[in-house]
Symmetry: C2
DNA sequence: GGTGGGTAGTTGAGATCTCAACTACCTCGG
DNA sequence: CCGAGGTAGTTGAGATCTCAACTACCCACC
């Protein structure tokens, strides 16, 4: 884009390069990670993340809304995903404690087994594509930087329910 | 995940944190960027990127395969996307020069106008969510790091056609 | 000069995602 | 109590994406 119209703070060449590197790098990374999952695992990356969250939760159980927020999924998308995973027996819904609107999602034994079977392949892929590609201090920088980015986006969408519609 | 099974090089706590920061940060960022596009622009982020590529190409024209590779899209997805954009008059297909299998995609005048109308809002969002959030040297680091990540993923998928099926 | 193997792009059906209702519940003020 | 307004989750229809054929073409070798 030529920067003819003024009063818009265009990006300079370096910013442009860096931003595009981010755009392209994440696209390629998530694409390659997805390909690795397709090739050797029975779970998409999204399903895997969902199971991981549950496996870390007390009682292997989490409220739908907590899952949605944590996984950066819309409520609707989570509903559909959980429905599919429930049909496969990986996960089950149970009504929540006090609030009768709430629904809990619980990891089943089968789900745990599937997760454990998938974990090595997943971790190998994350190493191959990310962790082992960077110097330790680069990985740490990436972590710090991405936290800042998370923060800014979170702030922008607070109040809104982009991922909670 | 507890790391009981051995012989898999699990991530240590720091690596885990950094990797998850990347995962969550990109998800939140692209979600927020998409929301910004929805709110003020007539183009999704993907459509915007496609128009940008064309606008930078000689003759505002690019081969489908080049577009697909550059945008990290499968051939099939690009076909569908271009079909929809062509129906909106943003872009047009024309048969390529020497190779009669090839198809060129060209930016139309309308497409250029729409792109120019969208650019300020897009750039503002990228600033707000990324560029202005980071110190200049952080943005530069991010760029370098993401280039390395791109490289690793590209290497992994070379030969394969994950994004060219 | 034709045949085998590759490349470019498309197609359509099924899977997934989005968006806007919609149900059911909670909460709080009056 | 009851009603208004908010929250949790679901639903279904339409949009989009994926995957596996499929068409058309190029190339190189015999």
């Amino acid at each position: 884009m030529a920067s003819t119209t003024s009063d818009v703070p265009w990006l300079d060449a370096g910013q442009q390069r860096d931003w595009r590197a981010f755009l392209e790098g994440s696209a390629r990374f998530f694409d390659a990670l997805g390909a690795a999952h397709d090739a050797e695992l029975d779970l998409t990356t999204g399903e895997y993340s969902l199971l991981v969250r549950l496996s870390e939760a007390p009682g292997h159980t989490l409220r739908m809304s907590v899952l949605a927020e944590g996984l950066v999924l819309s409520r609707s998308r989570l509903t559909h995903t959980v429905t599919r995973m429930e049909a496969r027996g990986l996960v089950e819904r149970c009504s929540a404690d006090g609030d009768r609107r709430g629904v809990n999602c619980r990891l089943t034994d089968v789900g745990l087994q599937v997760l454990e079977a998938a974990a090595p392949g997943h971790v190998r892929a994350v190493r191959r594509l990310l962790v082992d590609v960077l110097e330790p201090e680069e990985l740490a920088s990436l972590g710090r930087i991405m936290d800042k980015i998370s923060g800014a986006s979170l702030e922008e969408l607070e109040g809104t329910d982009r991922c909670a519609s």
